[in-house]
């Protein structure tokens, strides 16, 4: 098996462990293998300048540790886009920031060996110490296929190990293989990967030596697909799945979120009682505990969302759904896979943006990332509910439906349509170049492992908590300072709590800022107090409700409806008139529908696109869109209700 001289393949140098790169097509179980080998030591990062990510971790082997890098799944090493250029550069050592890996571990799905051998040929031609891992071998045999591993190893000239990656069988063999990385051979004669006919001949001879028998197509998969991809039944199942998706997120997550909120409210009270009144108590109570609570309140939704997405993905249903949705998504220039990101964004744009990692085309990814935040996320809900209650009476009916419910549905529709249109515009303008042809592989249905699911859920959730959580916390603290300082203890000494708070807020830094920007938002009907709310909601949209509550000196800041209805303009041409008239409310709702008011989303965009350029573009275009559409809404409503 190994036919090299002494010293060849001697890779361990002082102070650096051997690096093995995992190479393979998507859907081969490569990532499961990587996760099982590296456990919790894995970290994901971007290649500089592009959106491609790669993961790196440490695997323990019998002869010490080995660094394992999981490269993005690819069908061929020939690059089709700048993203793929980077991967090839990394492999061949041309990438400045990364050293070329010392050895290659090619992961191939034994059920599609015929196709994977082309990639293997390209890998062998790189002239590096190489070994092969075959996955899904149990499935191969269950479907009537077979192969002789020794024969394959002889034909390829490299060590070959059989595994069932997602069940952990054969894992020890892979560890052993990694332990012997120093003795992996370099291919003596590069397989002919340039000439198509010669390549076919080579592939056939390798398969002959391995006595490879192709598996039958999976009967179970065909039967299930006959239903799930059926034009009528498939669509019905799809709608049912989507409906369950929504229900779980809104119905199941809600009580858990309430429970978390209650816990934090309780701690807030405990803090107030222990620390008494004064700034420290308020800071700890509002900023710290409130801030942390504000982050953790996202947790049930994101957990459930990722749980469902990863179950659907590992079972194989996601590609079926993308198949059904593709025609519709194609109208906005996106592909069927984008719908997962869009759907997730209805809970929160943060996991939605993270979900775009599965899209191979960087152009599509960015278009989706730019348009996903327009989908109505759950943070907008409290704002919509408040504003709708001010606009539409609770008893009003639209046929059998509640008018308020219809208005809410309308906002969802608005967000959805806007995001599709914006994606189209981006694809046609800024993202004109670099198209990849559409393709979608439909893996056979497979039972997911609990371990794989847990990992697929844990990684993004942990990232959310760490990165996004810190940002929300910091911004909450900063806003707390802006709203509560300068303290006006002398002036507020004789006021009751609500009035005092309102006075302080009006004369704080944030208040000054609100008054300063008032002329900007005047055509929309917003007065400086609403502008304070807008400034505060830059951190997170739902903060708008409590901020308005505080500004209006509401008795219950969580339910400021009545107090807000009594707010009147303090100066200007409309002095004395109520602020929250239908035109203002409509303008405000539309503004919230379209404006970028979420630092967490921006932070996630930054992380996923690996630059500040795209978040900056998002802030800019969304502000213009929000302002323009809000103004149109204002004018139309004013004309209609005059």
């Amino acid at each position: 098996m190994s036919c090299h001289g002494p010293g060849e393949g001697d890779v361990a140098t002082l102070g650096r462990t051997t690096e093995v790169a995992l190479l393979g097509s998507p859907n081969t179980g490569k990532s499961s293998l990587f996760n099982r080998l590296t456990g919790l030591s894995a970290a994901t990062g971007n290649y500089p300048g592009v959106t491609v990510t790669r993961s790196r971790g440490t695997a323990r082997t019998s002869s010490g540790s080995v660094t394992v890098t999981d490269l993005p799944g690819t069908y061929s090493l020939e690059p089709a886009s700048p993203d793929e250029d980077v991967v090839l550069d990394h492999l061949t050592g041309r990438q400045e920031s990364e050293t070329a890996p010392d050895a290659l571990l090619v992961v191939m799905d034994s059920t599609t060996l015929y196709r994977s051998l082309a990639l293997c040929a390209e890998a062998l031609a790189l002239g590096r110490p190489t070994a092969v891992v075959l996955t899904m071998v149990d499935e191969l045999r269950a479907r009537g296929g077979d192969l002789d591993v020794t024969g394959l190893s002889r034909a390829l000239g490299v060590p070959v190990v059989e595994t069932v990656a997602h069940r952990g069988r054969g894992l020890e063999d892979v560890r052993e293989l990694l332990g012997e990385v120093a003795s992996w051979p370099v291919a003596l004669i590069a397989p002919p990967h340039d000439d198509a006919a010669q390549l076919s001949g080579w592939i056939r001879s390798v398969l002959d030596s391995a006595r490879y028998r192709s598996p039958r197509s999976s009967v179970a998969t065909s039967r299930i697909d006959a239903v799930l991809l059926h034009p009528v039944w498939g669509a019905l199942v799809f709608l049912a799945v989507m409906f369950c998706f929504f229900q779980v997120i809104f119905t199941v997550a809600a009580p858990i979120q309430d429970a978390i909120q209650a816990v934090f409210d309780h701690w807030g009270e405990v803090a107030a009682n222990t620390l008494g009144s004064g700034f420290l108590a308020d800071f700890v109570g509002t900023a710290l505990i409130g801030g942390v609570g504000g982050v953790l309140v996202f947790l049930p939704q994101i957990l459930l969302l990722y749980l469902m997405i990863s179950v659907l993905e590992s079972v194989g249903y996601m590609s079926r759904a993308a198949f059904l949705m593709d025609r519709i998504m194609a109208r906005s220039g996106l592909d069927g896979r984008a719908f997962v990101a869009m759907l997730s964004s209805t809970a929160c744009a943060v996991p939605g943006i993270m979900a775009t990692r599965t899209m191979p085309s960087s152009r599509d990814r960015i278009a989706t990332i730019m348009s996903a935040p327009l989908m109505t996320c759950s943070a907008r809900l409290p704002v919509y509910l408040l504003l709708i209650s001010l606009l539409v009476p609770a008893e009003a009916r639209l046929g059998p439906f509640s008018m308020q419910g219809a208005a809410l549905f309308g906002m969802y529709l608005l967000g959805g349509l806007a995001s599709l249109v914006v994606a189209r515009v981006f694809k046609a303008t800024l993202l004109r170049h670099g198209a990849l042809p559409f393709y979608l592989e439909m893996p056979p249905y497979r039972l997911p492992t609990p371990r794989g699911i847990l990992r697929a859920v844990w990684t993004p959730v942990w990232m959310f908590l760490r990165k996004v959580g810190t940002i929300i916390l910091v911004v909450t603290a900063v806003l707390w300072v802006l709203i509560n300082f300068p303290a006006r203890e002398a002036e507020t000494a004789h006021m009751d709590e609500a009035q005092a708070q309102s006075y302080v807020m009006e004369n704080s830094f944030a208040g000054a800022a609100g008054k300063a920007v008032e002329p900007v938002f005047e055509p929309l009907g917003f007065d400086w107090r609403v502008d304070i709310g807008l400034i505060a909601s830059f951190a997170a949209r739902e903060v708008f409700v409590s901020t308005m509550g505080q500004v209006a000196a509401a008795e219950d800041p969580e339910d400021p409806g009545a107090a807000l209805q009594q707010l009147t303009y303090t100066h200007g041409p409309h002095q004395g008139e109520p602020v929250f008239t239908p035109p203002t409310i409509v303008a405000l709702m539309i503004f919230f529908a379209f404006a970028m008011q979420c630092v967490s989303t921006l932070a996630t965009m930054r992380r996923e696109t690996n630059s500040w350029k795209w978040p900056a573009i998002a802030v800019a275009y969304m502000f213009v869109l929000a302002y323009g559409a809000a103004w149109i809404g204002h004018e139309i409503t004013a004309a209609v209700t005059r």
Partner: protein
């Protein structure tokens, strides 16, 4: 793979886009006019000259189309399927195929 004679009444499919669900075709050529990058990507997926392709189903609105090629199931949109020319083909056999 069976070779069949087409009667004058049924026009033979020329590209993958014309192959109906259940039919098996053999790829003759991936169009030259196609962007070489696209052609290589199709090749890497298994759509190479001489390969057998089975059309499995089409999406409700005609696109994308699901094929079995090189042991895997892959979808292409109509536009890509149109750029793959086929040679021999055989229609769905009378007995149902799973």
């Amino acid at each position: 793979m069976k070779r069949s004679k087409q009667g004058a009444a049924t026009p033979s499919p020329v590209t993958l886009c014309d192959v109906k669900p259940g039919e098996i075709a053999c790829i003759a050529l991936v169009e030259d006019a196609l962007d070489p990058v696209v052609r290589r990507r199709l090749g890497a997926l298994g759509f190479r000259e001489g390969e057998q392709v089975t059309c499995l189903r089409r999406a409700p609105m005609g696109s994308p189309i699901l094929f079995r090629v090189c042991g895997a199931e892959v979808c292409l949109r109509k536009e890509q399927a149109r750029s793959v020319r086929i040679g021999e083909w055989s229609p769905a056999p009378v007995a149902s195929v799973s």
